[in-house]
Symmetry: C2
Subunit: 101 residues, 2 copies
């Protein structure tokens, strides 16, 4: 139970949900800076760490920068089906409100 | 986006996930005390309030006690499909680990 709650907790923040949503939208590894706006780098690092610990993203170094990718399999192991449903809800809401609310 | 994050945040705590899970398992309105163990009543009240504000439960008075029910329609309006997928993940995990981990 606690593992599912940890995944939900990680997704249950607007900044982190946006990070995960952008990774899903773009479909390929992204540098950290592409995944957030208007927050300090140290704040972003905290959010990335939380996402990593919840099994939602993986990070690796390439050419001197950190790339992020969605850890769909690991997320699905911890909370089967949840990440996909959250991404679908996000898309549905974005479509309905023409860009989010 | 923030409404989906609020639903996820409300579900992203082991105590609240258990409350919602028991409501789903039992399929009918439940008194507050049936939905948690081993926490203070004031702590439980805080968790119930957060679930209510996220649109996940409704509460009403009957015969001098408060009954809780799952607000499936409202949850679905705020985060389409998410509550159902979380409940399914919870059941899947409970089955796999024979009682949750």
């Amino acid at each position: 139970m606690t593992e599912i709650a940890a995944v939900l907790h990680a997704l249950g923040d607007p900044v982190r949900l946006e990070m995960v949503g952008r990774l899903a939208d773009r479909g390929e590894p992204q540098p950290c800076g592409a995944l957030y706006d208007d927050i300090a780098k140290s704040t972003a690092s905290y959010h990335f760490r939380l996402l990593r610990e919840a099994g939602l993203i993986e990070q690796y170094a390439e050419g001197g920068r950190t790339l992020n990718l969605l850890a769909r399999a690991e997320a699905d192991r911890r909370a089967p089906g949840v990440l996909e449903s959250v991404l679908a809800a996000r898309s549905a809401r974005a479509a309905r409100t023409d860009g989010g609310q």
